[in-house]
Subunit: 340 residues, 2 copies
Amino acid sequence: MATIRDVARLADVSVSTVSLVFSQPHRVSESTRLRVQQAVDHLEYRPNGTARDLRVRKTNTIGVLLHNLSGPFYSELIRGVEEVADMLGLTTIAAGCSSHQGQGSVRLLHEARIDGAIVLDPSIESKELLRYARESLPVVVLDRPLTHDFHSEYISAVAADHELGGYLAGNHLLDQGFRRFAFIAGPVDSGDSHLRHRGFFRALHRAEIDTVTIPVVYSDFTENGGKRAMGTLLEQGWKLDAIFAANDEMAIGAMQALEEHHVSVPNDVAVMGFDDIRLARYVTPSLSTIHQPMYEVGKTAMKKLEGALNGTSDGDVEILPVTLVTRSSTLAPLAKEGIS
Amino acid sequence: MATIRDVARLADVSVSTVSLVFSQPHRVSESTRLRVQQAVDHLEYRPNGTARDLRVRKTNTIGVLLHNLSGPFYSELIRGVEEVADMLGLTTIAAGCSSHQGQGSVRLLHEARIDGAIVLDPSIESKELLRYARESLPVVVLDRPLTHDFHSEYISAVAADHELGGYLAGNHLLDQGFRRFAFIAGPVDSGDSHLRHRGFFRALHRAEIDTVTIPVVYSDFTENGGKRAMGTLLEQGWKLDAIFAANDEMAIGAMQALEEHHVSVPNDVAVMGFDDIRLARYVTPSLSTIHQPMYEVGKTAMKKLEGALNGTSDGDVEILPVTLVTRSSTLAPLAKEGIS
DNA sequence: CCCTCCAATCGAACCGTTTCGATTCTCCCT
DNA sequence: AGGGAGAATCGAAACGGTTCGATTGGAGGG
């Protein structure tokens, strides 16, 4: 690879002049600018990014760290991030957090390869993030709350209003006339699942339903996990009207289990999810759920990051509203009677 | 941030010794190693990746450049890449190719920020890739053939056998007893779509069906595009048995259009897709399709890249087999009669 | 004709590592 | 005691840019 020195030699100017041609073209005379340009073309010179990053001590790159890159869910998020980053002249790179410690995306955090990070990956421990976050590397987390022991000047958060979502789901199911519920939760240490759980119970309390009678099964946010959780509920022979699953994947798994047990959805039991993934619209029956504005989350996260990069932080945590999406999986028994 | 010099000063050793502690610990005595380690911990020293990259002239990072990061389709691919990269001690980063020229992922290619690239993004022109690919930056393309004018020592390709897929699809539809076909193609400049098209027609020729009578509509690989394409076919009043769409998205769009026109799938007309995206299994009726082994593609691409990085190239292009996945959207009329 | 000023260009330091050859120190052998 | 081997450590030169203060040259004013 040709270096800036090669260009300088060929164009018979100093290195600094070549640099100037790129950074402040108006500062160099037309004739030399042309000469430099020719040399650049001829040598196919391309500036070395790592050298520049080293010198100016920033990379103009921000990282989006995800558990895995699957799902149209994440893609919306990244789209939001990219849109804002692009306007700011920043490059966005995404990294899944693969198996080996130290190998994968953590290297981006660890070795000053990015100027900021957006994190949505429960497998990266908060403790670790606290170590990495600093003035020159602010972090926005999307998957955990800012508690008193997870708190730093350089960490902020953006989240959908999970509690509200749980509440909306609960109210919707109540409005549809259901009374006997079960909840399929995510992993015990998932803050998101916990908040959804809480909102759900709040709605039930308000309707004076005794939540102590409600079975809760903890699963893992996967389709298969939801299926197994539903299997557990069915085996126990609970009398149930409606299932609220902490995400759509598990809700879809639950529907499969129900189908296999010849329980009709929503005639015998209603199912409600959370996230509004693309699949929710296509399964049969289509899945009622809570829509998370992932694109907005991405945009907001990037804006917060920008604020942190410029030292103009604008508060710790931003909560974005969610919306109820009613589809067929929670059709009311009454409505059905009215129709038939 | 503390630098290696700070550590050296605090531990009262030279900079090179500190470096040695990391790279070849056995070469430094236990006592100093301990002292250095303490200094590192105390200062929270972390090596600067860009400085190292500059010095050793490689980044140990490979980029996966995608059109957008959407779809479980891509995620499988990335999973395959990551698995291999991880074993090789390489970091994988993914970048969507957002709007602004020069801003986005191209910077990774342009500025020597990665050691190799895997490209699946038609919006990056082949011409451009030819400019970037070189010994120190080999490229594996996943979305285009290696033609005589797009050919370089440093570019190789991995692809699913699109032609075979088209052929399998054609044969399957013929086996099911369908005879009057339409093809919904991708963009005219999509090589993949073209190959699927070719394979499809080869199957029809073999069955002595006159392909001249077969309407072809070119669309854009999106669900909505498929819907509009199907609309066009329906308006023209073609008599049709079966639709073959060049990807699942368009096939699903086509099914929607058919439903809106009260044409039953597969009773009135069969629909077949290509890709085997996750959704295909869930739509109603479930979509017959051709399965592309994206995970394998990712792994193979990464292995090829590794070969190129080590100078042990193993041929230009690798074609991976595809498989037929039969579901409900292509149930045979005869079978149906047999059942009813 | 000389001085001043500004535009154009240059030289050199610096960013934080790695690496290689040189140096010092220790210990052992004859 | 002298010499040599080998381990431990060090110094300094890269890597390829950016940036700032210094230098040069020519135009314009008095």
